[in-house]
């Protein structure tokens, strides 16, 4: 299965995402430069972490003007699985594919550490290989991961199952002490109404190899594969 990894000037986790996709799914990952709108026939799209455009104006703010991002928006509309990791999550919110915004960590400092998240919705394109309630250990590395949404929109998001991951403790409780950045309701990742676009602050591509500390991220990447296979079976 082919994935497109979109690369903006300043993206720096694109190689990691491409490699992890290939290792976990056995498919191919094509790195797509922001200036082209040709997604090379990709069946899944990953927006990787980094500092696209140097975080100019706001994190991820400028990406939506690029040809690649316009193609991503169109593909998302057609139901293609789209995963936004860290900066990628910020880009999805700025592009209007996901609601809300990511602001500065409550601690005001960059945090690089391993956290736990609970899978809240196992029916999205990127959590199909997980179980609802499953606790995953995933690394984070960000200074602006504090997710926010006005109260009424937050209620609507929750009501439609839009929360994909919450920060939690070892026992799976969404304890404020387990929240590394102060995000509202311990939200670590969300999805759109259709369930094909998912954004999360933790880095699943950094937890796809035992040698590097853990493999809980592999299930997230594998989920898209599962979806493709199910789709293929449905099509006959």
């Amino acid at each position: 299965m082919r994935a497109a990894v979109i690369v903006f000037p300043g993206s720096n986790c694109d190689a990691d995402a491409a490699l992890a996709w290939e290792q976990v799914t056995g498919g191919t990952a094509e790195r797509i430069w922001h200036e082209t709108s040709d997604l090379a026939g990709a069946e899944a799209i990953i927006l990787p972490g980094g500092f696209a455009y140097g975080d100019y104006l706001r994190c991820g703010a400028l990406c939506r003007f690029s040809p690649a991002m316009r193609a991503v928006v169109a593909a998302a509309g057609r139901g293609l699985p789209v995963l936004g990791i860290c900066n990628g999550f910020q880009i999805l919110c700025e592009a209007g594919l996901l609601p809300g915004a990511l602001g500065r960590n409550r601690s005001l400092s960059f945090r690089c550490e391993t956290v736990r998240v609970r899978v809240e919705n196992a029916a999205t394109a990127w959590t199909g290989a997980c179980r609802e309630g499953e606790v995953l250990e995933l690394p984070i590395a960000h200074g602006e991961g504090c997710y926010w949404l006005p109260e009424e929109e937050l209620d609507a998001l929750r009501a439609r199952g839009g929360v994909a991951f919450r920060y939690c403790d070892a026992a799976g409780r969404a304890d404020p002490g387990a929240n590394p950045n102060g995000s509202v309701d311990n939200i670590a990742g969300i999805c759109n109404a259709q369930g094909n676009v998912v954004g999360l602050m933790p880095h699943p591509e950094r937890a796809a190899e035992a040698l590097l500390g853990g493999t809980d991220g592999a299930a997230i990447l594998r989920s898209a594969l599962r979806l493709a296979r199910a789709g293929a079976m449905a099509r006959g």
Partner: protein, 749 residues
């Protein structure tokens, strides 16, 4: 040639304004055949500054052994390069950015990171790791907190944005550095041997290109004013001389340069650091024996109306100089444009050996290139060698031994010291995982370990910096650091391959400083010869002093080692309950001289540190690299045995690990005579290992002639229990151990 003091005058002589001495001015004039004009004087002022020319240290750096089969590029280029086999190589270098960080900690540290990154990718190597050695004054003073916080944020800002993981380093807090913080940054990068780039400008007729940021007025004379003198004026006045970094452009520059290097179409590549275009142009010509003709009208400038002087000496960051054939100009510009960078052809390589500068059609400078880049005098300044250090013989009345019932409190207080406490407050601000290659992250082992993807080898990295011990014994202290770096790499599972270094000293114009410097070089050289480790290059930072207060000799050693298989990387903490705990090496070979405990208990730094015993060090390295498999290995260093034992638990990967330890009673005479010697004394050549079954270990140690003593075992209750001579003295449970974790956040947050 001795440097004469410039004569005092109502109007200071023109050479003083650029930091030159009268003798140097005479030499320049003689070689030019005339007096230099103002622009040319500025060029020499920058290039012959201590920071750029190494004039006070070059005469001695040749004593460092730098040749070995694995050294592909030794000292003299932008970075050293070591062979990894199979057509692969690794570049490494360490640099200091002490003075800018003292003035503006955030940008000083950030641009230090930017600069060392450029030294690596200018070789055609992709930067894959950063380490930093930091020295601050005690954090109870607001100014020191300000520096520590600013420097940490600056390192994180640049490294994280550029996507290079910061994987290790060392930080201590000591009154020695209160006015003079130290920021040493090391970078390591991977390259293919076929894509190695050198910083030379061959081929008369080739084009000289400037790529990256536009040139502005920032940082002019940063090298000569900041890095080559002690601070006399207020730091704020020097702020215009501090450079400002842009890691976003830095990242684009990395990608563009690596793409160009891999194309095979570059003839030369050099970074613009201290002294900007001047150093890049003159060094590349100087190395190749060619000349350069620069047209400053072609240099993209950030501000209008910049003078030739300003353009030539600007230290605007994120700029690179490259040499390419004229027919490759379109290709070069095309690659740069793809990455959103400006590229301009600013000159031509010539064959006349001169640096010639033209602006507005008018010649502005015409000097011999190699004289500018390599012609600074090699000073042998007056040196007073340090006296041989005398071991501390504490009068038992004035400096009583620890009473058994005091051991517990002393242990807790020691672990809380900022120097020994957990550094997680710092490294959690650094992305240590980007590039998916970090096998042993910060805090997990005595060295960081990276995975080299093409060969599956592990690259172990350790940065060790002296302070207290080199202050007492420059020669021995330096040798100890090399031994410690090698041991750290060994504990993580590697064999040392090569090292880089940074030597931080006060003014070389003082004979005792020069003497300490020479002995430091000798100590490093001796250790390298005994351990078979080449020096691939490094950096010297003089003039670390402010208003009469100066640092002590502070060498920093950046050690690189190799593991055949990255998967065999070994942590420092016990992995499971029920493993035997062993001390390899002479358990009791320790003393309080210069130790953290001596400082804590009596506010002293006195005596003579124990020097390495090379037979033991070599045997340890052989055991750690080729001996039986061990669950963990941890070097005994600052804080002595008690600190090391606590660290075996504090760095354990699993929760709930404890240790039951039985130490022999102090002997009452000879080494480890007193209880405090035994518990907190410091000495080289000792490693704490855990292993499920110690049979093979004992046999291997016997075969190598290494002392080997079982001290106890790991437990599952999370408590460190230490008994001495059968008497339980120290009990560190989760509550007591938490002090180690909390110390830095408590004083820095």
């Amino acid at each position: 040639m001795a440097a004469a003091a410039a004569p005092a005058a109502a109007n200071p002589p023109r050479w003083e304004a650029v930091g030159l001495h009268a003798d140097e001015y005479r030499d320049i004039t003689a070689r030019l055949g005339r007096e230099p004009n103002d622009v040319e004087l500025g060029l020499f002022g920058a290039m012959w500054s201590e920071h750029c020319s190494y004039k006070s240290s070059r005469a001695y750096l040749g004593r460092l052994p730098s040749r070995a089969p694995q050294v592909l590029v030794g000292p003299g280029e932008n970075a050293g390069v070591l062979d990894l086999g199979g057509g692969h190589a690794v570049a490494l270098r360490m640099e200091s950015h002490n003075h800018p960080s003292a003035v503006e900690p955030f940008q000083g540290a950030a641009t230090g990171v930017g600069g060392i990154l450029r030294d690596i990718f200018t070789m055609g190597a992709r930067p894959v790791a950063l380490l930093d050695g930091l020295r601050f004054g005690p954090p109870d003073a607001a100014r020191n907190r300000h520096l520590a916080v600013g420097v940490t944020r600056g390192i994180g800002h640049y490294g994280n944005c550029v996507g290079v993981p910061t994987v290790g380093g060392e930080t201590t807090f000591d009154p020695l550095y209160a006015e003079n913080p130290l920021v040493n940054v090391m970078c390591v990068g991977y390259l293919e041997r076929a894509h190695l780039q050198l910083g030379a400008a061959p081929g008369p007729g080739n084009g000289i290109f400037l790529i990256g940021n536009r040139t502005g007025r920032d940082g002019i004379h940063g090298a000569s004013l900041l890095a080559s003198q002690g601070f006399r004026e207020s730091a704020a006045e020097l702020r215009p001389a501090v450079q400002v970094g842009d890691p976003f452009v830095g990242k684009l520059l990395i990608e563009a340069c690596l793409e160009l290097a891999a194309s095979g179409r570059l003839r030369g590549l050099n970074d613009l650091g201290a002294a900007g275009i001047t150093s890049a142009a003159s060094e590349t010509a100087g190395r190749a024996g060619t000349g350069v003709l620069l047209d400053l009208d072609r240099v993209p400038c950030r501000e209008p109306g910049m003078s030739a002087y300003e353009i030539l000496l600007s230290e605007s960051q994120e700029r690179m100089l490259l040499i390419a054939a004229p027919e490759d100009e379109d290709y070069v510009v095309g690659v740069c444009r793809h990455w959103g960078l400006e590229a301009a052809r600013v000159g031509t390589v010539t064959d006349d050996g001169r640096l010639r500068v033209v602006m507005g059609g008018v010649p502005r400078a015409d000097v011999p290139a190699r004289h500018l880049s390599h012609g600074a005098p090699k000073y042998r300044r007056p040196a007073r060698l340090p006296e041989a250090p005398v071991p501390w013989r504490p009068d038992p009345q004035q400096y009583p031994d620890l009473r058994p019932q005091e051991a517990q409190a002393a242990a807790i207080e020691l672990l809380r010291r900022p120097t020994l406490a957990s550094k997680r407050w710092l490294y959690r601000q650094y992305d240590h995982q980007v590039q998916a290659g970090t096998v042993l992250p910060p805090g997990a082992g005595d060295a960081a370990v990276l995975r080299h993807r093409p060969t599956g080898q592990g690259v172990a990295l350790s940065l060790d910096m002296g302070g207290r011990l080199p202050a007492l014994d420059p020669y021995g202290g330096a040798a100890l650091l090399v031994a410690e770096g090698a041991r750290n790499v060994g504990c993580a599972g590697g064999r040392p391959l090569g090292l880089t270094n940074c030597l931080n000293f006060p003014s070389p114009e003082r004979p005792e400083v020069m003497g300490a410097f020479i002995r430091t070089i000798d100590g490093i050289a001796a250790a390298c010869r005994r351990l078979g480790i080449p020096v691939t290059g490094g950096n010297v930072s003089f003039y670390n002093e402010t208003g009469g207060r100066s640092i002590h000799p502070t060498p920093a050693i950046g050690m690189l080692g190799l593991l055949p298989d990255a998967g065999c990387a070994r942590g420092s903490g016990a992995k499971a309950a029920g493993h035997g705990l062993w001390c390899i090496g002479p358990l009791g070979r320790a003393r309080l001289d210069g130790s953290e405990y001596q400082g804590l208990r009596w506010g002293l730094c006195a005596g003579a540190p124990l020097r390495p015993q090379w037979g033991i060090e070599r045997a340890l390295l052989a055991l750690l690299a080729e001996g039986p498999a061990l669950a963990s290995a941890h070097d005994v260093a600052d804080g002595g045995l008690v600190a090391a034992l606590a660290e075996v638990v504090l760095t354990a990967p699993a929760r709930g690990i404890g240790l039951d330890v039985a130490l022999p009673a102090p002997r009452g005479r000879g080494q480890a005579a007193r209880l405090d010697d035994l518990l907190f004394g410091e000495g080289p050549g000792r490693v704490l290992v855990t292993v499920r079954d110690g049979t093979e270990l004992q046999a291997a140690c016997a075969g190598l002639g290494l002392a080997c003593r079982r001290l106890g075992a790991s437990t599952g209750d999370g408590v460190v229990r230490i008994a001495v001579g059968g008497q339980p003295l120290i009990r560190l449970g989760p509550g007591e151990l938490a002090a180690w974790e909390e110390a830095l956040p408590t004083c820095l947050d």
